[in-house]
Symmetry: C2
Subunit: 459 residues, 2 copies
């Protein structure tokens, strides 16, 4: 790192807000994709002015800048591949204004999802996005990836639950977009353009999140089916009536077999697929609503549906699903976890074809995920130290992506592109669309300072 | 219109798809803002290729192109102010694919909102956006303005209910964006960027709309209050619990007084504000849900809440609201109807300040609208033939917009900008944001062919 560059950084940030020691910087080069690149330095802004000044200096010195929340992303989108500096939003973690009367909250990007939920819950509210990493991941990261989670099936993703943003563009301009209201149509929708752009256009410095009233009651249902086809029919049936569950998760046969072999979870012997369903609402109506969902779950090939009404019963029902992750970690600690998405009715075709791909490439594949959105977590159980297996996995992944697109789907439902899927993007997006996106990038970030080498493929 | 230009149009379109006669073109120069400009010609594409070819020819001849659905917009966004040609999507009105299993429908832009609802209803589904003009307005128009309607309070606007688009940019490139799934995070969100851009960036040729299950039951509630403050407290209270109504409309004191004077609708004499509430859901739970809403409606200053359970009872409750529009038409046939939006808790402050503005500018103002979204239809009852009154109205409007922004709101919740609000946009958007939007416009439409002179102010 050049001395003049460092000197300028030191002018704007206190000493403790700059890391330059290689060993201290090391961990900031990782994310949950396990990819790594060593950053030149790590900076910790605490104000919007800091962010603007850092971007300005990076532009002056042509140094790449990689925004980082808490590194829970799975695609390498925060890894500083270009030898640039990492801008960590860890210290920009204030809740600026809780506006319970208008169901909204203004936060800095470094606040964790959990902190938002805790603050909102005090006022009987919640923010819909609930990625698995909610306890650790930052709101800025959630917005950068448009992360969701199980609740998206009823409440939508970040795009449907964010009212407005403040951000600094790659050119160093502070912008404000969106509203503090639940409707607004003045000017182009820059808010959603930034959400999901993976720190590629502008760095978010403040977000106005749309909150929803916290349901006062929740029921958990567990439904088992003879086959994935039957379970998928049940998903369609459940989604075709007026009571929408707040989670509609599934596990395929391979996932169930794994849980059977490695845990003591109770499962019908003939179960070839399982749905975990959560229904939320008002205490006075929840009983009837979960009965309606139970009825909708009973399609041909259905084995049984249990409704849990107490926390203990719900805990017992979740055991099978909860046993899965430790099982997967035991068997394949470095599995590849993709998150393709297909229209709900194509889930059986996807799962059947994945079984065939598993055989063709001789790779064990376990599927589970957000059935209500058709968002399937496809887990390739591989050993990354086995080069042959990794080569086969690469070919297999290629086929998995082709398959998702053939089935009218998309490469990613919530994990995003980052580095992991960057080379596959041309399968989904045409040349014209990619060119347009590059030109938009150019408008926001003319020197390509922000997160270069990610999200969009080279032109 | 130059002969070579017309000749080229005639090459690609059949004779009946081009109007050049001034009297035939006349009506296509209007929209519901009552503004008018005479188009050079009107063209009626039936295919995406037509749209692309028309845009290409317009680029070659530097002729402006104004997209038009059914002309129900209220801001002049389709008026061909620059002496260009109007591209009417009336004949591009096919439902391409109804996918009931995946709750989506692919349509051409000229399909009316009603046609979508009718097709979806056959499969027990509906599309959430429901502008008042639903029977006539086109989906293309809905998307161009991000139109909503009462149901937005529960189900969101076009942005939350559109999965993907096909479009032709102002540069003549066909693009496809979004997905056929309810989640998707590959590339920038061009879908929402186009929605609400008022035919300014690209012309939509196909839309994949997200459908929702049609509720099987609906209850209507009518609640009256001593004051607007009390009604607004009730709105906050209703929105703070877990049962969200599918409509939460209000009328202020002036609106009620008008109905009292000009119709026989029954109203408590001491009512200073009224809420019309609709609750939808499942037949088995609706009774309890409307009781929950009724309970939430009973704040201090509440007079009474009636629940209608039959169609006839609902019809009776709606009478007051339905009497309003004919009253307004009788008193001020050419009223100015604005649609500012403020955070819900600021509704009383807005209404009180509007009363003061009414006195200051000596203009009668009547307010009603979508209280659940804070989206207030502010009606200035003016006579457009009275120049002094129109001058006062202009000053008053200026103050209304300042007021909405002071109250943390926006100039428009659903009508959009078009011509009507173009000169006021700099109140809400900063120079940096407007410049960025112009640059984005430049990326999509380098020759500024599409809808010039609208939506964004001059730089």
């Amino acid at each position: 790192m050049s001395k003049p560059f460092l000197k300028q950084l030191q002018k704007i940030l206190p000493t403790e807000s700059i890391l330059t020691d290689a060993s201290e910087c090391l961990t900031y080069g990782y994310d949950n994709s396990r990819r790594h690149a060593q950053p030149l330095a790590v900076v910790f802004p605490t104000t919007e002015e800091h962010v603007q000044q850092i971007i300005t200096i990076c532009n002056q010195h042509n140094i790449s800048l990689y925004a980082r929340g808490r590194g829970t992303g799975t695609t390498g989108a925060t890894v500083p591949v270009n030898g640039g500096i990492v801008i960590s939003f860890e210290h920009m973690n204030k809740i600026i204004h809780m506006d319970e009367k208008n169901r909204s909250i203004d936060v800095q990007p470094g606040v964790t999802n959990l902190e938002v939920q805790q603050c909102a819950a005090k006022h009987g509210l919640f923010w819909a996005p609930d990625p698995t990493s909610a306890a650790f991941c930052s709101v800025g990261g959630n917005l950068a990836y448009n992360s969701a989670g199980p609740r998206a099936v009823k409440y939508g993703t970040c795009r449907e639950n964010t009212l407005g943003l403040r951000a600094v563009t790659g050119n160093g301009d502070i912008i404000q977009c969106g509203t503090h209201t639940t409707k607004g149509v003045v000017g182009y929708d820059l808010t959603r353009l930034l959400i999901g752009s993976e720190g590629n256009l502008a760095l978010i410095t403040q977000a106005t999140l749309k909150l929803l009233p916290l349901p006062t009651a929740k029921h958990t249902l567990k439904a088992s089916y003879q086959s994935m086809d039957a379970a998928a029919r049940a998903v369609s049936n459940i989604m075709a009536q007026a009571v929408t569950p707040c989670a509609l998760e599934f596990m395929d046969k391979n996932a169930l077999d794994m849980v059977r072999s490695y845990s003591s979870s109770e499962l019908p012997t003939n179960a070839g697929a399982m749905l975990m369903i959560e229904v939320d609402g008002h205490a006075d109506t929840i009983q009837r609503e979960s009965e309606i969902i139970k009825l909708a779950s009973q399609v041909e090939g259905h084995i049984q549906t249990d409704i849990a009404q107490t926390k203990e019963e719900a805990h017992a029902l979740w055991q099978t699903r909860k046993a899965l992750s430790p099982c997967l970690r035991k068997i394949a600690p470095k599995k590849i976890n993709e998150d393709v998405v297909v229209p709900v009715s194509n889930i059986p075709a996807l799962i059947n074809a994945l079984d065939r791909l598993s055989q063709t490439h001789d790779i064990k594949i376990v599927n589970f995920g957000h059935a209500g959105n058709g968002n399937i977590h496809v887990n390739l159980l591989v050993n990354p130290d086995d080069k042959n297996e990794m080569k086969a996995a690469e070919n297999c992944l290629n086929d998995v992506f082709d398959l998702a697109l053939e089935l009218n789907g998309s490469l990613s439902g919530e994990h995003g592109v980052g580095l992991e899927k960057r080379n596959f993007i041309t399968k989904e997006l045409g040349k014209t669309e990619i060119k347009l996106m590059h030109q938009i990038k150019q408008v926001f970030d003319k020197n390509n300072i922000l997160n270069p080498g990610k999200t969009l493929p080279e032109m």
